[in-house]
Amino acid sequence: MKSNKRAKSHKNNAGTLDDEQVVTKVLEGDRNAFAVLVRRYHKQVFTLMNRFANSPTDAADLTQDAFLKAYTRLETFHPGKRFFVWLYTLSLNLARDYARKNKKHNDNLLKELGDNYGEIPTQEGRLIQQGNTIALFDALNRLPEDFREALILRYKEDFSVKVIARILNLSVSGVKMRIYRGLSKLREIYLESDHEKDI
């Protein structure tokens, strides 16, 4: 739920500008206003890139490319649409291009997990949860890219099926099919890895 609110027209409590107002300011020539959008969304874009690149260095380069592309093509962003959806679509296309060129989908995503994990109150809980999450990452990583992105967009980013359809350039029923098959495959892989008992 948190992501949904975040992804929608962003307006923080400090009364700063929402995404659309920032875009307008940038289009009026205020280059520095774009920093607001970078600050808001660079983490999500970096995470996306990292999923495809499996390398923080490459992911950082791709994130930079994504924001540069968004900046130069900002005129094509339609007011009234969600900026994050537009940015995400653009970033996903870049990530896919990168994946096609490199074709080295290695499975060392797990390496990143130890450092990026959130706070857990007890040491025991931390170990259990970390173990499960690593197993899930492993399963996610083994999923075909199309299924994985559909699941992440739906359950992590909390996008509606309609929005996901726009991002992935699919029909609504096509997205539902991917989510359905993605879930069942993920569950299958996860069970294979014998972690269900830990949940």
Binding site: F46, A60, P79, Y117, F137, S173, Y180
Partner: protein
């Protein structure tokens, strides 16, 4: 209410229920931590922005959804305001000019404002709405002759002829030489058949402006009604001397011809009928100056209508040569004075039969006559 799902949606929901633990874990997957300084790196890679053209800004503004927030109080106030605006706009566009103007001038103490409002309403053929404004103007400024005169006109439009007369009389009291008030008072008397009073008024008008066509024409009608043919003949000639154009000139010439005076003739020239003073000649068949202005009408029409040609038909009893000479004289005058008119468009004829005029149920044969018959090559102009 039971929710209806499509079969596939149902399967998806079942799958989500089965995978709830997996879904929960996907939700908890943390974002990767970007390397330090990524924001600054991104920003430093951005080039400076070019200025966006104005049309692009307007385009974006048109596409941007706008949000309006209302408290209930503001909403009610807005609805009331909208209803009021709608009411006034409806009143405005329904042509209720009086209401509109009443709003504008209700408390005004400027007589001219009421006067011009009344005049404009009269001009737009709304005398019943004009009347109160003109009355107000007179009430505010009773020493203005024009105000009384136009109030009289409004009463005439209202068919209140007594009040009309009173207002004209008041205007004349204030300004004895008020031409229009005197003229319209004459019309008022004439409409009531008070010929003598009308004549007095028209004489007063003509004393100020001797060539005023309305006064001249109506004097002719009055003498016609009084059966004073000698005076009537003089008046029609006076009228035609100053005005030979238009339908009233044709009517005047007809009245004159009815009296057996053919000094002015009506000639069909293309699509119109023109009144022309009959050309008069000296003993040597040269044109006398008093008819030249009439002939100029023929030259003027020929110069303006290239499709027109004119037959000059001359008769001189028992003398063809003089008829031919007179025809040539007229053609010569016109071709000299109007060199742009091709002489071939002026054709001459000298007939051996007299011109026959039927007037007032009597037939007259003229011993000497000149007729002009204009024909056009443009079929649209043929009447």
């Amino acid at each position: 209410m039971k929710k209806i799902f499509k079969p596939f949606d149902e399967k998806l929901i079942q799958e989500e229920q089965k995978s709830h633990h997996v879904i929960r874990m996907i939700r908890n997957v943390p974002d990767a931590d970007p390397p330090q300084g990524l924001e600054e790196r991104v920003m430093s890679s951005l080039p400076p922005r070019k200025t966006v053209p104005q049309w692009r800004k307007l385009y974006r503004l048109a596409l941007t959804p706008q949000t309006v927030r209302f408290t209930p109080l503001k909403l009610v106030t807005s609805v009331i305001c909208c209803a009021l605006v709608l009411f006034f706009v409806t009143v405005w566009f329904n042509g209720d000019n009086a209401s509109r103007q009443a709003l504008n001038t209700a408390d005004m103490r400027i007589p001219e404002a009421h006067f011009y409002m009344g005049r404009s309403l009269l001009a737009s053929n709304q005398p019943e709405k004009a009347l109160p404004y003109l009355e107000k103007a007179v009430a505010l400024s009773p020493d203005q002759a024009d105000f009384h005169f136009w109030l009289g006109v409004a009463h005439w439009a209202h068919k209140d002829f007594i009040e009309e007369r009173n207002q004209y009389a008041q205007a004349i009291d204030l300004e004895p030489d008020h031409i229009l008030a005197n003229l319209y008072l004459g019309h008022n008397f004439m409409d009531r058949g008070e010929w003598d009073k009308a004549l007095v008024q028209y004489d007063k008008v003509l004393a100020v402006d001797p060539n005023l066509p309305h006064a001249l024409y109506n004097r002719g009608l009055i003498f016609r009604n009084l059966g004073k043919t000698a005076e009537e003949t003089i008046v029609w000639k006076e009228y035609l001397k100053v005005n030979q154009r238009g339908k009233w000139a044709v009517r005047a010439a007809e009245h004159l011809n009815d009296l057996g005076d053919f000094s002015y003739g009506i000639h069909p020239i293309g699509p119109v009928r023109i009144v022309i003073k009959r050309p008069s000649f000296s003993a040597s068949d040269t044109l006398l100056p008093d008819c030249l202005s009439s002939l100029d009408q023929i030259g003027y029409v020929l110069g303006n209508n290239p499709n027109l040609y004119v037959h000059v038909v001359v008769y001189f009893k028992d003398n063809h040569k003089r008829a031919l000479a007179r025809a040539k004289t007229i053609k010569g005058y016109l071709t000299r004075k109007y060199p742009s008119v091709d002489p071939a468009r002026i054709k001459i004829s000298w007939f051996s039969c007299a011109e026959k005029i039927v007037a007032n149920d009597k037939t007259f044969l003229l011993n000497e006559s000149v007729r002009f018959i204009g024909l056009t090559t443009n079929k649209k102009e043929i009447i």
